[in-house]
């Protein structure tokens, strides 16, 4: 072997290796530069993630000094599976079986639901309590995952359900305050954009941007949890005692329009809102219109007095309970001969009220009623308010005014009827009713505070004072609302017993029994309306609704610390208190 041949072999090897190294440089240039843009964008995209930062929804608090929580959030877990690997490994049925056992689901249904998908995501159950989720997690089932979620909880259950409403499964308020105050309650979700490492975890030091979420604000209601509780209990008892189909009640602060309590039956548990039907979800107190019957005479007589058409002492012939007018017979519940205006109200004579209305004339009656906000929404800050029905005068027939006078052929909501009563109690000013006192952000800033607002002034203050006196006589001995009295207080109010329209005719068996009133009559503080739908067998407002008014009012005055107007009454008040069991 010569030196020269060896050198040639050296050079061969050296050249080959240099070519290889040059080739690698070319390859590097290609990787680094040539497939630049598309490849880089795709790669960066798979390493970036974007997350919406959800915030807890604001709470709903009651208006009492202790600010009781009426709606809050609790952390729960959504349980989901990735069915694909389970199907591939034939473990779907066993996993579904174990899930169904722990979560009390139907195993066959769950298996089918998970089996038919070829996606990588399927909910097993949402909003699973933490303990259940922890139990599942301990079982270490394959392809079963948990994600954090929040659910709305209403600690009071059915109480105040219609006012509070509920939040649907997508976290959107769907009725009541939850819907009405959605924009405040939901807060503003934030955004986080960041990089993920190879194990799909966020790399905190590579965060691209984070927009902090703004927590939902707390909504403070005017509702007082304790008054509400009294009202709910009383309503439940009433519905049961009188075999009623439905019932509604509202307590309102006379001077401001603040709603202190509002309840309707049937109700529902907002924690299980899916189980409730539409009838249960209906907030009847504001969303159900009915013919008010005799309570409506209050508006008619107040208007007539205000306009000087009648005076309290004017006497009307009540035709012994049967009056043929325009070929239609109008009856009184009890037959009366001659009654003055004050007694027409006290005894609730239909014939008397009709004659007063006829004296007023159609046009004047209609405009007066409209100024009492009949046929118009009061604008309460809750969704679902109805405006009632008051036909324009052009559509009235010859007997319309005589029927409207006794609350027939006109429809109102309980809220409207209470508005009329409270307007009289509040010196002739109808206040806009409201349930939201204020909205307070998470850091304590008051974002919104409700101020009382006068909607209308249907009568002069002097007329209002007069009406209060007349209405106070209703609860005296011999008045229709005698059972509404509260020991130590003068209660002013009016009963109503309206025949319901069934199949186009006024029913002889189905009634709407109501009582609307306020106290103390001398210096009114709270107004209240009780409406009972189809009570059986007792059906008059005086027998069904008035006692409920009395029962609640008696507790309410003590709870609110209202004092009687005169020393004698005060004595009675304390005596009554001492006599209480």
């Amino acid at each position: 072997m010569t030196e020269a041949r060896r050198t040639t072999r050296y050079i061969w090897v050296a050249v080959l290796l240099c070519i290889a190294l040059a080739g690698l440089v070319v390859r590097l240039v290609f990787l680094h530069v040539a497939i630049q843009d598309a490849g880089r964008t795709r790669t960066v995209k798979t390493r970036t993630y974007r997350e919406t930062l959800t915030v807890p929804r604001g709470r709903i608090l009651d208006g009492s000094p202790s600010a009781n929580i009426l709606a809050a959030n609790i952390g729960v877990k959504d349980v989901w599976v990735d069915p694909a690997p389970l199907l591939a490994s034939n473990r779907l049925s066993s996993v579904a079986g174990q899930l169904a056992r722990v979560l009390h689901l139907d195993e066959a249904e769950l298996s089918t639901r998970l089996n038919t998908t070829n996606r990588h995501f399927a909910y097993v159950q949402r909003f699973v309590p933490q303990e259940k989720a922890a139990e599942l997690a301990r079982m270490k089932l394959p392809s079963v995952y948990f994600s954090d979620s929040m659910t709305r909880h209403y600690p009071q259950g059915q109480n105040l359900c219609h006012v509070l409403g509920f939040v649907n499964h997508d976290g959107v308020g769907s009725s009541g305050i939850e819907q009405g105050m959605e924009s405040y309650l939901k807060g503003i979700p934030g955004l986080r954009e960041s990089r993920l490492d190879g194990r799909r975890r966020e790399m905190y030091d590579r965060r691209i941007r984070e927009i902090a979420p703004r927590e939902g604000a707390d909504v403070v209601l005017t509702i007082d949890q304790n008054l509400q509780y009294m009202l709910e209990k009383a309503l439940d008892a009433t519905v049961e005692r009188h075999h009623a189909k439905a019932a509604m009640a509202i307590i309102q602060h006379v001077k401001t329009g603040e709603i202190l309590a509002m309840a309707s039956r049937p109700g529902f548990d907002p924690n299980q809102f899916r189980a409730a039907g539409d009838l249960q979800k209906l907030n009847r107190a504001i969303g159900y219109v009915y013919e008010p019957g005799s309570t409506f005479k209050v508006a008619v007589i107040a208007a007539a007095l205000d306009q000087g058409i009648v005076k309290p002492e004017n006497v009307f012939d009540c035709e012994n309970g049967r009056w043929l007018y325009q070929n239609k017979i109008l009856r009184d519940y009890h037959a009366y001969g001659r009654l003055d205006v004050a007694d027409i109200l006290k005894k609730s004579s239909n014939i008397g009220a009709a004659k007063i209305a006829i004296l007023m004339g159609d046009r004047q009656l209609e405009s007066s009623l409209r100024s009492f906000m009949i046929g118009r929404r009061l604008g309460i800050d809750l969704p679902g308010e109805e405006g009632g029905i008051l036909r324009p005068v052009a559509q009235w027939t010859a007997i319309s005014s005589s029927r409207v006078a006794i609350g027939q052929g006109v429809a109102v909501t309980a809220l409207q009827m209470l508005g009329v009563i409270c307007g009289i109690a509040n010196d002739g000013q109808i206040m806009r009713p409201y349930v939201v006192k204020e909205v307070v952000s998470a850091n304590g800033t008051v974002l919104m505070r409700q101020v009382p607002q006068v909607l209308s002034r249907p009568i002069r203050p002097e007329t209002a004072v007069l009406m209060r006196k007349l209405l106070a006589r209703v609860t005296e001995e011999g008045g229709t609302g005698a059972k509404a009295c509260v020991e130590g207080f003068t209660v002013a109010g009016k009963t109503g017993t309206a025949q319901k329209v069934v199949a186009g005719r006024y029913s002889e068996s189905d009634y709407m029994a109501s009582f609307a009133g306020f106290l103390p009559a001398e210096a009114p503080e709270i107004g209240m309306i009780i409406v009972v739908d189809e009570p059986q067998p007792l059906h008059t407002g005086g027998l069904v609704a008035a006692p409920v008014f009395s029962e609640i009012a008696e507790q309410a005055v003590r709870y609110l610390g209202l004092m009687p107007a005169s020393p004698e009454q005060t004595a009675m008040y304390y005596a009554g208190r001492a006599n209480r069991p």
Binding site: Y10, L21, L31, H32, T43, G198
Partner: protein, 378 residues
């Protein structure tokens, strides 16, 4: 001119080491923090290895390379011995399905790294001894071939396919340059390749790697690492994303601090840095070739040639794998990847090269006169 080759060589090696330490600090931080709760875990250890490697390198440069020639038989036997020992269960540590490590107290050493050095020494010494008989089948192919195959086989059994291929190619080239008959060498290489192919076909892991290399779309799982590595270069672009800013090291690229560290270099420092790394290895190769070419005797020449080749071919294979030109093996990038045995042996290689250079011929000296009579440097 010639005195410059070892100086440049030392400069190149120091640059590679410097870059290596910096990149290791970056690339290993995530893995270290995750697996050992200490982002500097691998850096600390590598710095320790580096001190040992520097000492070993200086020592090797001071030791007359003829010493290796004199002791080539014991060295070869020792290499074969440790390669056998590492295969014995309970003695060799099994990591990831391979028995590659021997635990010696607190440190683990890789016998295959030592085998790389031993193969060069053994073949060089053999060729020097055989002299003109290298042209014969018996002396030029059969005997050195058996020696090479014995060591290859042991490394192959670990199994460490990357080192096997490295040893086979470098060993073959040394024999070729040393004067083995090319025809027989070719036949031997072909036989070896067939045997290797058979073994790969029987090994699902290696087969998977080859298939993933050939058809990445059909074997996405096996092609994952390669894809992540290519993505790293693409993300880096020309100038890189900046030192320490790699995303791929965050669990996207497995072995970011060992075999695939060049991908992180490419991502953080860009095309500039990866090209420089390749140019440094090319420079190392040229320096090594010059030193080898001017060695005073056949052994020195083959030793220098083999050691240079061992480093540069390993680097080329590593870069080939990382850039997706070759199927995945398990070879670290010399001087840069994490690993003590590799670093120490690489530095010893460089040390020996420098010793050869110190005893080298002056440029333009007459190469025909008897080289054995030349005064030794030491």
């Amino acid at each position: 001119m010639m005195w410059k080759a070892p100086t440049i060589l030392v400069g190149i090696v120091l640059l590679l080491l410097a870059l290596g330490i910096v990149m290791l600090a970056s690339a290993s931080s995530v893995k270290g923090g995750d697996a050992h709760k200490d982002p500097q875990y691998f850096l600390r250890r590598q710095l320790l290895f580096l001190s040992a490697a520097l000492i070993a390198g200086v020592a090797a440069s001071s030791l007359d390379y003829h010493w290796w020639q004199k002791w080539w038989v014991p060295i070869t036997l020792l290499a074969i011995g440790v390669l056998v020992i590492v295969l014995i269960p309970h003695i060799g540590s099994k990591i990831g399905g391979s028995r590659r490590w021997l635990k010696l107290g607190p440190v683990s050493v890789q016998p295959s790294e030592f085998a790389k050095f031993a193969v060069v020494v053994a073949l060089g010494a053999w060729i020097a001894k055989a002299g003109n008989k290298m042209g014969t089948f018996r002396e030029g192919i059969l005997k050195p071939g058996l020696l090479l195959v014995a060591m290859l086989g042991l490394v192959f059994l670990e199994p460490d396919f990357g080192t096997t291929i490295l040893l086979a190619s470098v060993g073959g080239v040394i024999l070729y340059v040393g004067g083995s008959p090319p025809l027989w060498l070719g036949i031997g290489a072909f036989t070896g390749l067939c045997g290797f192919a058979l073994a790969v076909l029987k090994d699902p892991v290696r087969m998977g790697r080859i298939l993933a290399f050939l058809m990445p779309d059909k074997y996405p799982a096996a092609a994952y690492q390669l894809g992540q590595s290519e993505d790293a270069f693409t993300l880096g672009g020309v100038w890189g994303v900046g030192l320490g800013e790699s995303i791929q090291k965050h669990f996207y690229l497995p072995e970011a601090h060992t075999d695939f560290i060049l991908a992180i270099v490419g991502e953080e420092l860009g095309l500039i840095a990866t090209t420089i790394v390749l140019l440094l290895f090319a420079g190392l190769f040229i320096c090594g070739m010059m030193i080898s070419f001017r060695a005073p005797d056949t052994f020195g020449r083959l030793l220098g040639f083999g050691l240079t080749l061992m480093i540069v071919v390993q680097a080329a294979i590593n870069v080939g794998v990382v850039t997706g030109c070759l199927p995945t093996k398990g070879l670290p990038l010399p001087f840069i990847s994490y690993g003590g045995s590799s670093l120490v042996v690489s530095m010893v290689n460089i040390g020996v090269l420098i010793n050869i250079a110190r005893q080298g011929l002056e440029a333009g000296a007459d190469r025909s006169i008897g080289i054995r009579d030349r005064a030794r440097w030491l």
